[in-house]
Each structure stands twice: as C-alpha cells, then as structure tokens.
C-alpha cells in the first residue's frame, strides 16, 4: 500500500565537506578548514558566531564542536578538535581532500550586535579558545564597531597553546591587547608570556568592567575561579558569556542528551550568560 512521502528534510543528513587545510595546533589538536562539496549548499549556508555543528567521520560517528571560524570569513568553516574518542580519532586520521560530514549550524549565538560600542574581554583556557576564536575574528573583522579588545589566554604548557600563528598576529596588532600565560612548569626557556593560572593572570591584567562584556570559556575549574575575579573587577553576570559543552548526539533537541533541567543546550544554548547559568540546575 503506497502512501505519498512528504517533503520533510532529513535533519540527520550532514553536508559533505572536503577538508581543504589541516593545521596541527598542539599535540593531538587539529584544525580543519572545510569547504562544501556542493556549491549550491555553500551558497545557501550561513551561520553566526557561537553556533556549533555535528561533524561526522563516516564509519565512526558524529562529534560536536563549535564552529571556530568567523562568519565574516566566507566560503569555508573551520573546526578545531582534540583527538580523544572514536570519532575524533577518525577525524584525526583524515587529510586534505578527504570528505567529512557537517551538520549545522545549530544553537544560539553571541549577541554581537548588542555588544557594539563596548569593550570586549576574552578569557580562554586550553582547548576552549576555538569556540572563542570565532567571536574574536568576528569582532576583529568589524573592529570599528567595538572598543577595547582584550584577549587573555592560558594553557597548561607552551605546546598546548593553540592557534600559535594567530596569537602572534593578535600580539602584533596595536588594537588588541593579548595576554598569554602557561601554568607554572609549562614554560619553555624562550617563553615570553606570563607564567601562572588564568584567574590570577586575569586579576593582574585587570580589564575594566566599565561598558565591557566578558566571554569566558575553559575547563570547569578555570571558570570556577575566574568568575569571582571578574565579579571583583565589576563584571555583572549578565555581561559575562560562555558556551556550554554538554554531550550531544542529535544537536536538534530530540535525543535528550544535552538537557540541563528543562533547558536544551543544543537549542537554548550553547551560549549563555552567567546570569542564565546560575539559574540552571547543576547538571552541566
């Protein structure tokens, strides 16, 4: 018995993207630049800073990362990931020219328009710079619209710092204040940045909270100790943003995995202010 099929699209079907460039950022950490294999899809595709996607290594499965490139840079998307599980190992084995899946963009975005005319302070730790890189470039590409830009970035060791070339580029820019730090013991003899944990470095750098937005991403322990510092500096919870990274499968509010209370991180997030985070049950 035949019944006509409807035109509901398959929301689980990824775009096929070709890897155009692979950059090894740190041990086990890679950045892929991806381009659409189908130009029509490329034409229609848009996203905004803060959104994430599901990346497939076909045969291994899907993994969730934010889009690490800026929406201001057209024609490609970039993602940065650390090789850890089955999917990321599958992805890590891929090279330029290989095809991977990309499903997205999903989730909400950083309210960049609302931030216009403000100072922006980025605080990132380790592998959490990628979700912020998207916003950083977005802001820098529209530099005139924002006031002071401060980037505070720390990693365990010098080797663990990602986007080393871009860090140098930001460092060289007069309109960006970059402070990098590594944990004590993680420095190399020629390390010129700070030595110390991120919260202490933030405190020392003391960015002004006046007319400022802070974006904080990093491991839970870093966030836990950085928030009081920002608060002491006068940042209000509603002006501090972060992105949550709960485990996801579908990315579209079906699979039930990322829920924090009634909140779907995939739909209502991943971008939250700390004012919002405080309201969430402690399950993230």
């Amino acid at each position: 018995m035949a019944v006509a099929t409807s035109n509901i699209p398959n929301i689980y079907k990824p775009y096929l993207m070709r890897i155009e460039k692979v950059t090894v950022e740190a041990p086990g950490v890679r950045t892929f630049r991806l381009v659409f294999t189908n130009p029509e899809e490329a034409e229609k595709f848009t996203f905004q800073a803060g959104q994430f996607a599901e990346y497939s290594s076909f045969g291994d499965g899907e993994s969730t990362f934010c889009i690490a490139s800026s929406p201001t840079r057209k024609g490609y998307v970039e993602c940065t990931f650390r090789q850890a599980g089955r999917v990321t190992s599958g992805l890590a084995s891929k090279d330029v020219g290989d095809v991977i899946g990309f499903r997205g963009p999903y989730g909400n975005t950083f309210p960049l328009e609302a931030w216009e005319g403000k100072n922006i302070v980025f605080v990132a730790g380790g592998i959490a710079l990628p979700p912020m890189r998207c916003v950083i470039w977005n802001v820098l590409d529209l530099r005139d619209k924002y006031k002071d830009v401060t980037i505070l970035y720390g990693a365990r060791t010098v080797a663990d710092l990602v986007y080393k070339d871009e860090l140098a580029e930001w460092d060289a820019r007069p309109d960006v204040r970059l402070v990098t730090t590594v944990d004590p013991g993680g420095e190399t003899p020629d390390w010129k940045g700070q030595i110390g944990f991120v919260p202490a470095v933030v405190e020392k750098a003391a960015p002004s909270a006046e007319n400022s937005i802070a974006v904080v991403c990093g491991p839970p322990i870093m966030i836990k100790f950085t928030l009081p510092v920002l608060s002491k500096l006068g940042f209000k919870p509603e002006n501090i943003f972060t992105t949550l990274e709960n485990r996801m499968k579908c990315g579209v509010g079906k699979c039930g995995r990322c829920n924090v209370g009634k909140t779907y991180v995939c739909k209502d997030g991943p971008v939250f202010t700390f004012a919002q985070v405080k309201e969430l049950p402690p399950e993230y």
Binding site: S93, K94, D95, D98
Partner: protein, 663 residues
C-alpha cells in the same frame, strides 16, 4: 593524517611470477592515507632499501608497509632502514605476499586481488601504529642445561669453558645418557664409553658446572635472560657429601634381582646402586620401590655397612631455585618399547631384542662382557636377523618418520656380530639404506662386502616360534616379493627413536612447542635449528628429532654458541611488544576493574598490582600493571580481559580490528 608508503617487492619471480605487482601498487594509491606506492625487483637489496629511506624523507611518511616475504625474513632489514631515515622502526610493517600469497597460489587475478587485500590490511594497521621504544633487560649469565647425555654434556662444557656458570640437571642417578650404554660407534667403531667417560669426568671436575643428578625440572618461570628455575632433587637416600662411593652398600644389598635399566633389563642390579661403574657422580642411590627397608621396614644393611654414615632413609625431595639466563633442552630420546610389535613377538620371545639391548650385549661393560649371547639360554646365536625400520617409517603405526640412525647401527650390529662370530649368519631386512654422512655409505658397503652381511630388501611380516625355534617370515622384494622364512637364534629390532617419557610435560613447563611425536620444535627448521619458539630456550640432540652422535654434538655446540651469544652482552634489547593496562580520564583513571584474573593467567608472572591514589594519598583503586621486563607479549591477558582494559603494544585490539575490517 596518516602518510603511508607502500613498497611492493617482486622478490625476483617469487612474487612477481604470480602477483601483478604494478597492479598492487596502482590499487594502493586509491586507499586514503597512502601517499606513495612503488614496486621493485628486490626491495631487500641496497637500492630497494634506499627507495624506502628516500621515500620516508621525501614524502614525510608516517608509516611504511613493505609487501614482500615473511616478516621473519626481512622485518629487521626494513625496520632498520626506516630507523636510518628517522622513522620509528615500529611504524614499519611487513605484508607477507610471498608465503601467504604468491607461493601458495597460481598466477591469476584472484591471486593479485588477494595480495592487494593483504597489503591493504597492513596499511590499515600501520595507520594505527604508534612509535615504540625497545626495552632493555639485564641478563643472568648462568645457563640451565636439562639432560646429561652427550648433548647436555657438550653444551654444558662449551658454555662452562667460556667462563659462564652452568647448572646441569639429569633425571637419572648418573650423567652419560644413552651414549654411555653403547658399545662401539659407527662409522669408526671406536668404543663409546672410551670417548664418553672423559667428557663425564670433565663435567664433574669443571668448577663452573653445578651438577644435579637424580633431579628434575619442577618449573621454569621468567623470560629470556631472567628465568627462575625450580629443580626437584629427588631423595637419593644417600648423603652426597658423606658418601665416598666405596661401594660397600651395594655389595651387601640383599635385593639383587632388580632388572638393570642401564643394561636394558638384560642384567640385574641391587636396590641401592650406581647405574654403572663409571657413573658420574659415582655415588649410589636407593631405589625406594625395591628397597626392603622402604617396602617392609626391615633390612638397613646398607646403613650398617656404610663407613661414613651416608645412608639417610629419611631424606626428602629438595627444591632448589636457580636464576638462569638461558636454557638448553637436551633431554634425549627413548627407544620404542614393547607392545608396539605384537607380530614380532617382542616381550613374548626372550630372543627378540631391541637394538639398544644388542648394544649392551656387544658392550664390554655389558651383562655378557661383550660376548654375543642370546638372553634365553646364553647360547651364542648362529643366525641373527636384524629388522630395520622397526616402528619407524610406518604411518600405519603412527610413526611415519625415519629414525635416521638405525640403518647405520644395524649395519654396525651385524658387523660386530660377524666380527665376533665369523661363521654366524647375519640377515638384515631393510626398506632402503640411508647412509648419508661422512664415511657412512662406505661403512655399510663394508658390512655387505667385507663382512658378508645378508641384506634382504623387504619387510618382516611376522616372527613366531616353531619347535623352540624363532622363525622370521618376510619377503624379498628384490626377488619379486618372494616369500622368505629364516630360522633365527636371535632377532634384533632396530626400534624407532621416540621422545623420552615426560617430554610433553617438560615442553609445557618450558612453554616451548612440540610436534605430534612430542619432539621439541625448533624455531625455524632451517635457519633457527637450535632455538625454540621461546626466546632463551635452546634445543640440542635427540629431544628435537632422531639424530646420531656427531649431529647431536654439533647441535649442542650450536646451542651453546647461541647461549654464549646471549651472554656476550650485559643487557639485551627486546621488542616493546608488551601488554599495557589502559589509563583513562578521572574519575575512572583506568577501565581496569581489578579482578586480576589476568594475573593468574599470565604465564610469565608479568602482571602485578598498582594503586591509584588521590592527591591526599588515599587509594582510589587497585589496577593491574604489566611489568614490561617480564611480559613476553603473548596476549593471553588481552584475550582474557573482559573490559578490554589491557592491550598489546604493536598488536592492539584497534589495529587487529582495523585489519579485519579492511578485508
């Protein structure tokens, strides 16, 4: 981000004759991760190796697959080549498209396709290979030699004479083995004991050799360079330190009718005895099964007559533990025994004897002092029939192999008989004569031509007694299968050489493999004839296969040289193919759940326990830990681990899965 190079070897025509090598190369270029593929006539040649080195540098390879012969042949070659080019040698793998493909198939599309499959499988493995570093382990420079026959004696002396300690273990009360039992030896007819006993004395006198007779290996643990052997010294009931070997005890022992093992049952011995006069050590042992005191609690005559009070009835078995770096197995052989030849009446007719029994009859130290007299009535036989291949080369009886020495010793036996009994008639039933060896063929010709031995080509079907006379029934196949009946006074069966009793159990203790006939297997039949599949355990003499004295001695010296090679360095480098227990992120730390069934299963005692502690020192978890020095990479623990928390470096589960999934 794998960058794999594939190097397909033609091996001259060996591979290229059946496999389309260029096609293999072409198909490799379609596999993700393969950035370079090339074929060459002889990849193992200098230019071939250079191709590998150059490609590693030029293409920045992260892995190399050489499709060629068995990794047993050239894996070290190519791994070295990779190392020279700066690539960790363990990122190089061999795909065996010769033994596994070209040699076993005809030239066809399917053969080439199989070669492609085999190489692709290895490409998928290499993609998942990790850099590994060799493991260095110290070497205990003491050798354990099991068996005090000519093989064990030769190996022990060779090693000891190079200044290393040797522990020599012999099951019987004296060393000497079968060679001490022999009369004259072919092809020179020199007296066996005359050449054997000096060697035995040398062993006893050598300071580097510790001799344990009447002892057996209890267990062997550890690994190459670092074995721990437990030796059971069976209770001798005689204090070796006090005994002077004066012999008063066995002269007085009332139990005199015990069949002598040394004389193959043709003579007798006492309950307290030394096996033979030249025994080393020349100190007696009480055979508790036959001793009146042990059987009935009375007698103690030996204790009374012993001038040094050396008799110790309450002596217990003693276990001694020795650390050794290498083991030579030289446990010899046995002769096929009764019951095997119901049609020949062995065991039923006293005058049907084995070749070894004949040796004792012919030996000056034997029960007849070297006169050939038949066991039943001591009469000198006028007609002797020798039956070659008694048991050997008889697939129907389960012994398809040739015992190798029978042709020669049968010729010798007939010759010895004829030398002593010029008028006697000697017949030899044979299948064919195998006399490969220096002066061997000449020796056989001498028996036929000079000593008038009657060689009858044919098998004996039956031996029976008729009117008190043995009748040998056979056929002469050279005369068209003419039936033949010979009335014989004595029949000598050239019984097959078989593995010595307990060979299987011993092999299991040593973790070495053995063949269907319980002979110990060598690591490679041609290129590693004195090694076993367990590193550090070597093999010499007839425990590996039937062989004669010169061959045995040569092999024993070969095994000794392998031991010496091992002892020539303070440490040895081992492949890092060892098991590792995983580590995961806290709070799990490891998926090992600490059931320690692996600990029990590990044949090398390589698994210990490790506590995972919190910062405050509190033990969070106890997990298995592999001692890389002890681990032999056998993978037993990997197979056993239910949660898959142990993996074998170089052969990880992931690699094996990738190989299978690539098919």
């Amino acid at each position: 981000m794998a960058r794999i190079g594939v190097f397909v070897c033609h091996c001259g025509e060996n591979i290229a004759g059946t496999v389309d090598c260029p096609k293999v190369v072409e198909s490799m270029m379609h596999i993700p991760g393969v950035v370079h593929a090339v074929d060459y006539k002889y990849m193992c040649s200098d230019p071939g190796q250079r191709m590998v080195r150059d490609a590693i540098r030029e293409h920045k390879l992260t892995g190399v697959v050489v499709a060629a012969c068995s990794p047993r042949m050239h894996e070290p070659t190519f791994r070295r080549a990779c190392a020279e080019a700066g690539l960790n040698p363990f990122l190089c793998e061999i795909s065996n498209i010769r033994e596994h493909c070209s040699w076993v198939h005809e030239k066809s599309e399917a053969t080439t396709q199989k070669a492609i499959d085999l190489v692709r499988v290895m490409v998928e493995k290499v993609k998942r290979n990790r850099e590994l570093q060799p493991i260095s382990v110290p070497v205990t420079k003491t050798a354990l030699v099991l068996g005090g026959g000519i093989a064990g004696i030769q190996a022990a002396l060779d090693i000891a004479n190079c200044g290393h300690k040797v522990v020599l273990v012999e099951r019987e009360p004296s060393i000497g083995g079968h060679m001490a039992q022999l009369s004259e030896t072919f092809p020179t007819l020199d007296c066996s004991q005359c050449i054997m006993t000096p060697r035995m004395v040398e062993v006893a006198q050598n300071e580097n050799i510790t001799l344990y007779t009447y002892s057996e290996l209890e267990s062997l643990d550890g690994f190459i360079g670092n074995f721990k052997a437990k030796i059971r010294m069976k209770a001798r009931s005689v204090d070796m330190n006090l005994c002077t070997g004066c012999g008063s005890c066995y002269q007085k022992c009332p139990q005199k009718k015990i069949p002598s093992e040394f004389n193959t049952g043709l003579g007798t011995r006492t309950a307290i005895y030394t096996p033979f006069l030249q025994a080393v050590p020349n100190k007696p042992v009480i055979d508790r099964d036959n001793c009146l005191y042990f059987k009935k609690g009375v007698c103690k005559l030996c204790e009374k007559v012993c001038p040094t009070k050396a008799i110790k009835y309450d002596q217990q078995d003693e276990i001694v533990e020795v650390d050794v770096g290498a083991v030579v197995v030289a446990t010899g052989y046995n002769v096929l025994n009764t019951g095997f030849f119901p049609e020949y009446g062995y065991g039923k007719y006293k005058d049907v004897i084995t070749g070894l029994q004949f040796e004792r009859l012919a030996s000056a130290s034997g029960p007849t002092s070297g006169e050939i007299r038949r066991p039943s009535d001591g009469k000198v036989p006028e007609t002797v029939v020798f039956v070659a291949c008694s048991g050997s080369r008889d697939p129907a009886k389960g012994l398809p192999y040739c015992s190798k020495v029978c042709c020669m010793y049968t010729a010798k036996h007939a010759m010895l008989y004829k030398h002593k009994m010029h008028e006697g008639k000697a017949y030899i039933f044979y299948m064919d004569i195998r006399a490969g060896g220096k002066m061997y063929e000449e020796f056989v010709r001498r028996a036929v031509e000079e000593d008038g031995v009657n060689y009858v080509r044919g098998r004996v079907s039956r031996i029976y007694e008729e009117d008190g006379q043995l009748v040998v029934k056979g056929a002469d196949t050279l005369l068209g299968g003419m039936p033949l009946e010979i009335k014989a006074d004595l029949v000598v069966l050239a019984t097959a050489m078989v593995a010595s009793p307990g060979a299987e159990e011993l092999a299991q203790k040593l973790h070495v493999s053995y063949d269907a006939y319980k002979f110990i297997s060598e690591a490679h039949p041609k290129l590693r004839p004195v090694e076993t599949n367990t590193a550090g355990v070597f093999v010499a003499g007839a425990c590996q296969a039937p062989k004669d004295i010169p061959e045995t001695v040569a092999q024993a010296s070969g095994a000794a040289s392998k031991v010496l090679q091992l002892f020539s360095k303070p440490e040895l480098m081992r492949e890092p193919v060892v098991a590792v227990v995983n580590r995961t992120a806290p709070p799990l730390f490891s998926t090992c759940v600490g059931c320690f069934l692996c600990e029990k299963a590990c044949p090398y005692q390589a698994i210990g326990r490790e506590e995972i502690k919190a910062r405050d020192g509190k033990v969070l978890k106890v997990v298995a830990k592999v001692n890389a020095g002890l681990c032999q990479g056998c993978g037993t623990c990997v197979a056993l681990c239910r949660s898959k928390s142990i993996d074998l470096q170089g052969f990880t589960n992931e690699q094996i899965f990738a190989e299978i999934m690539a098919l």
